[in-house]
Amino acid sequence: MVMPPDEPKFDDLYKELILDHYRYPHNRGVLEKPDVDMQQHNPVCGDKIRLTAIIKDGAISQIEFLGQGCAISQASASMLTDRVKGLNLGDVDKLSINFRDMLKGGKPDEQLMQDLMSLQGVSKYPIRIKCAVLAWDTLQEALGLK
């Protein structure tokens, strides 16, 4: 009989913080005259994310998102906008690498991750990882970091 290695709990995935961001997303909208404007979607589940941002002196000064999709993908986008605002591109790069690594089961740098830690539970759901990563894919693509 085949059993998944861990028996996860519901709240490991849908943490209160995630649901908060899903219900009341931060930085929702489209910026006018953005420096970057990028949209991506996941064909498997149809999740969509559009990011607009204004870059000043090599750092993200403003960022907003619009999207459609599951709680994980939308909360992840909302948290992303909170977390990267004000960061320079080098730090964004570092952050996104650390974030991806966490979702693949790696040990995250909690200091670096901050609220993003709440998405760690997704790593136990291979099929949902794409949801959490979509916004980050979009950002990296937008900033030419891939």
């Binding site: 028996e7 519901f10 649901l19 899903y22 064909p43 589940c45 149809g46 709680a71 994980i72 949801c131």
Partner: protein, 411 residues
Amino acid sequence: MKEMSVRNDFPIMERLIHDKPLTYLDSAATSQKPAVVIDALADFYRNNNANVHRGIYTLSEESTLAYETTRDKVAKFIKAGSERNIIFTRNTTESLNLVAYSWGREHIKPGDEILITPMEHHSNIVPWMILCNEMGSIIKYIPLDDDGTLDLSNLDELISEKTKIVSLTHMSNVLGTINPIKEIIAKANKVSALSVVDGAQGAPHLPVDVVDLDVDLYAFSAHKMLGPTGVGVLYGKDEVLSSMRPFLGGGEMIDEVYEDRFTWKEAPLKFEAGTPNFADVAAFGVAIDYLENIGMHNVRKHEIDITNYAMEQVKKIDQSIKIFGPENLDIRGGVLAFDFPGVHPHDVAQMMDWDGIQIRAGHHCAQPLMRRLGVSATARASFYIYNNEEDVDRFVDSLKKGGEYFGDASR
């Protein structure tokens, strides 16, 4: 709703999921198997296993007998004229590809039209696209009404002398719509177009009579009708099968092989290259016996009852829930795909899993239909003979909870 007393025949129903009893509502994707089928499969390997068709010894004779007996049973199950008309493949998908490769490459010319519908599964779209890319033919669609039924008002214009293939699903795996295939096949036959039915959701859930339908080719999968995985069926009329070139080449399908050429057997063996999946085919015969024993009319009746109940209950949860597909259960099977605004299908499915409920969320291999419905994905519950009212009640309770949990999103 009358209960079917078969649930205990299915060992997996004992399974707990997150300590909750299993509520399996994904039979449109694959069905569960009764113990008799599982046991027949294991018994075959314990007692009779040997390669078929070529062996002059007891085990091989037994194995061949089991294999060919299932062919016979399948023929009778769909009321085919002869077991000669039954080809074993891997699944519905391979059956349809076989048609596209073998009939299509022999008969299709640039500009020829292939008529399908917007509710097709990818397996009844992509093979035709591959064919079109190669042969320069064109795919056309019968339009879909908002109620989830086909709009046949212009059928006489859509099916013309240019139409070479008409291929559509017996029943939609998303909308539940049971299509008026007999009427459409008749029109196709009138212009001598090849009529093909994707019976992946037909054969498991509806009585099928291929001769009465007068269909050229009918495809389905054992795994959706209590049988093992890895077995598909393609029914074909004699004259259609003999007008098709061989598809896969190799052992079993040949007659003679020389250094530079080969000749092949008649159908069905012509299309069965290599060692067939004979153990699973043997067990599939037991699945058919089981269904015949219940009676396909009773299967259908049970699904009407349970779908009716489920639709009523779901509507009570929240006015905003949209159920896709026709309301009329005379033309609808046991499939319930829905949109719960503010609650994403993936979140519904994930949440229900914690309650032991297994439903599907996604595009259900029907992306063109998703686009037509204006959604990127839906959640879907689908029913079979082992499901009962309790399953529906658990599903409905869980859906309510989901609405409360995710539902007060700000959009």
